[in-house]
């Protein structure tokens, strides 16, 4: 996507200024790192509120705000949320993190997107600040074994969403169980950790389940022409097109498929969520698109409906919250529950608070029941919960109960 190109170029020009700001940030935070505002937990949030991935960041911002308001209303724990924009850019994300540290952040809810989160989680790990990300799904966010022995696991980082491997594995299992397709094509972004991570595990699991992958095509961030990729899937006769990518390229692929008169079953992952709110997007193109996600806004249960109302009021729009909003809401609520259970107080030093929260989250007896299902965490920081299938019908997400 061109935005990234622009921000890179923009960054070169701004880097001098940014370096000065970052240095200034280090100075003041060294003195005031463990300071806190008395009886209130200072919760920082980072995610793209502008830029190509803005839909995710805005959703997480408002979702987290709804939860903070609820927690404060309940009274047992007091929280204040400060949300910073990172435009889905790692450098800007680290700058946002430094801004929050100056502000006196004790716990980080974020970052929303994966690539910036890998950078920021390294910082929180070094600074001993507890971090719970709503939606950054790569294992590299957690450290994990995949980034090598010289880079140990980041024990302070936890996820509310599935890791990429789990999304890829779950997608393959779902497609196989529901017999959604016999010949599968995949188009993924091989310049993106999120997309590549899902793709690798999908292929692995598809092999084990004997799903036939007939076409594998890649693209990189700047591309807008998908005629070759879609054409290849069409020529190979794929009846299911798996798209482990974000919604902006997905919208171009759907449009290209229509242009070529190709109508397979489209199957996406959580990055697809948000496509319906893309300005100017013809929602008919997304008709019948399936995706795996832990949250369905059209679900009938009371908690989901109440969240829908609160979210609409907080965001000032008529759109239903997507799963990113629900994940962020669950992050804050899970934190509140952990804080209460472990008896953590706002006057604790951030590193002591971090250790206490790690102990609480990895406690085998600890689980949190929220909008995105019953969640519990492994010692590696990964979450365990059951994904739900969704299908887009008439311009809205409907649960897939087949």
């Amino acid at each position: 996507m061109n935005t990234f190109d622009m921000s890179r170029r923009g960054f070169v020009r701004l880097s001098g200024v940014a370096a000065v700001i970052a240095l200034a940030g280090c100075d003041s935070s060294a003195g005031g790192g463990s300071a806190s505002a008395g009886d209130t937990f200072m919760i920082g949030g980072i995610g793209p509120v502008t830029g190509a991935a803005a839909i995710y960041g805005s959703a997480t911002k408002y979702g987290a705000q709804v939860a903070v308001d609820e927690v404060n209303a309940a009274g047992a724990v007091k929280m204040e949320l400060n949300w910073q924009d990172d435009e889905h850019d790692p450098e800007k994300s680290v700058n946002a993190y430094n801004t929050l540290k100056d502000w006196g952040m004790q716990i980080l809810v974020g970052t929303t997107t994966t690539t910036p989160c890998v950078a920021v989680s390294t910082e929180t790990n070094a600074d001993r600040i507890f971090q719970l990300t709503p939606s950054a799904s790569s294992v590299n966010v957690l450290g994990g074994e995949e980034i090598g022995a010289d880079s140990p696991r980041k024990d302070n980082v936890f996820q509310m969403c599935f890791t990429d491997p789990n999304q890829g594995t779950a997608s393959a299992q779902y497609i196989s169980q529901q017999k959604l397709g016999t010949k599968i094509a995949v188009i993924y972004n091989n310049a993106d950790a999120y997309s590549t991570g899902i793709y690798q595990k999908f292929v692995e699991e598809a092999g084990a389940l004997e799903l036939e992958i007939v076409s594998t095509q890649t693209f990189t961030d700047d591309q807008t022409d998908f005629s070759v990729q879609v054409g290849d899937a069409k020529d190979k006769g794929a009846d299911l097109l798996f798209l482990p990518i974000y919604y902006t390229p997905a919208s171009l692929i759907l449009s290209e498929a229509k242009k070529q008169g190709y109508a397979p079953r489209f199957f996406g992952v959580d990055g697809m969520d948000g496509i319906l709110t893309l300005e100017g997007f013809d929602t008919e193109l997304a008709e019948g698109v399936m995706l795996l996600t832990p949250f369905v806004a059209t679900a009938e249960d009371e908690a989901t409906q109440a969240f829908n109302e609160a979210y609409k009021a907080a965001s000032g729009s008529n759109e239903n919250p997507n799963q990113f909003a629900a994940d962020a809401y669950d992050c804050v609520k899970a934190l509140a529950q952990a804080i209460e259970t472990a008896g953590i107080t706002p006057d604790m030093a951030t590193d002591a608070m971090c250790d206490a929260l790690i102990a609480q989250f990895t406690d085998p007896g600890f689980s949190y029941a929220g909008l995105t299902g019953e969640s519990s965490w492994s010692v590696t920081g990964e979450v365990t919960k059951t994904p739900k299938g969704m299908v887009i019908e008439g311009g809205v997400y409907m649960p897939l109960d087949a």
């Binding site: 622009m6 700047d222 807008t224 022409d225 005629s227 919208s251």
Partner: protein, 293 residues
């Protein structure tokens, strides 16, 4: 059939490059400057059309005309404010100014319209044409793009060779001083060149966004650079050269993607530029000019 599909896609992409390249080559050929802001005028054209259609609800034809008028005015204003004061300055100063204008337009667009990508609805809303039992589909946008490209190329060639203004442009291109002595208003002529170039950019913007329906402040930059490459391959300053270079580049890009690899496509496109410049430094249809010392 796959080969034919790729060829059609290549020609379609190439025609978009060609229209952008025509704008580049026109300005270079006459004003002897590289207008790097050309790609960003394309983006502005796309936004004007998007807003006219989606937010104001105007019919596509009116939206396209509005976009052409808007970009033409923008081109004239940019020329008057940024380039005209530098008429006597060294070409490097003008080049840097053009890059500055490019950033200015991108960041203004970022402020005005935000960074969120918009899904552009094609101005030509009719289903694809199916051939050979649906094995081969041709989108109407591609056909319009190719036709527009040919029409613009022929139109520009006739304009520069037959009309009084066109002849004045060629005179300015050859020797500004002599043209002035012959009673040609060089400043007006160059402003006119920018007006035409920017009007072409609007058409290119609308067709680009109709073919690849996404619009953001940086939409024009990569196609702009590729089209510049196309203009250089074809021989910068040559009108048929720009069209040829554009179409060739489009076909090479799509074929490279299909048969070599999607990651390598851009690298191959620029490698072709290097090879062409090594063999024919003036480009495929460019005239070699020997500088007298």
């Amino acid at each position: 059939m796959g080969l034919l599909t790729n060829l059609i896609n290549g020609i379609s992409l190439g025609s978009v490059y060609a229209i952008i390249a025509l704008g580049y080559t026109m300005v270079y050929g006459i004003a002897k400057m590289l207008n790097f802001a050309h790609g960003d005028v394309i983006m502005v054209g796309g936004y004007i059309c998007f807003i006219a259609m989606n937010n104001v609800g105007l019919p596509p034809v009116v939206a396209v005309l509005l976009s052409i008028v808007g970009c033409t005015c923008l081109g004239i204003v940019v020329e008057r404010l940024a380039y005209k004061p530098l008429r006597e300055a060294p070409s490097l100063a003008v080049l840097i100014t053009a890059i500055g204008v490019s950033y200015f337009l991108q960041n203004t667009a970022l402020l005005v319209w935000g960074a969120d990508p918009k899904a552009f609805r094609s101005v030509i809303d009719s289903p694809s044409i199916k051939l050979f039992n649906g094995q081969l589909t041709v989108s109407p946008v591609s056909i319009v793009t190719v036709l527009a490209c040919v029409a613009i190329m022929v139109g520009l060639t006739l304009f520069t060779s037959r009309t009084k203004m066109g002849k004045a442009m060629r005179a300015c291109s050859e020797d500004k001083g002599a043209a002035q002595l012959m009673g040609i208003n060089v400043n007006t002529t160059i402003s006119m060149v920018f007006a035409i170039g920017s009007g072409l950019a609007a058409i290119a913007g609308v067709l680009l966004c109709s073919t690849y329906p996404t619009l953001m402040p940086t939409t024009g930059s990569l196609p702009g650079i590729k089209a510049f490459t196309a203009a250089v391959i074809g021989g910068i300053g040559s009108i048929p050269g720009a069209a040829l270079g554009g179409v060739l580049l489009g076909i090479i890009e799509i074929f490279a993607k299909a048969y070599i690899g999607t990651q390598l496509a851009d690298a191959i496109v620029f490698a072709v530029l290097i090879v062409v410049l090594l063999i024919r430094p003036a480009g495929l249809l460019g005239k070699e000019i020997h500088e007298k010392v």
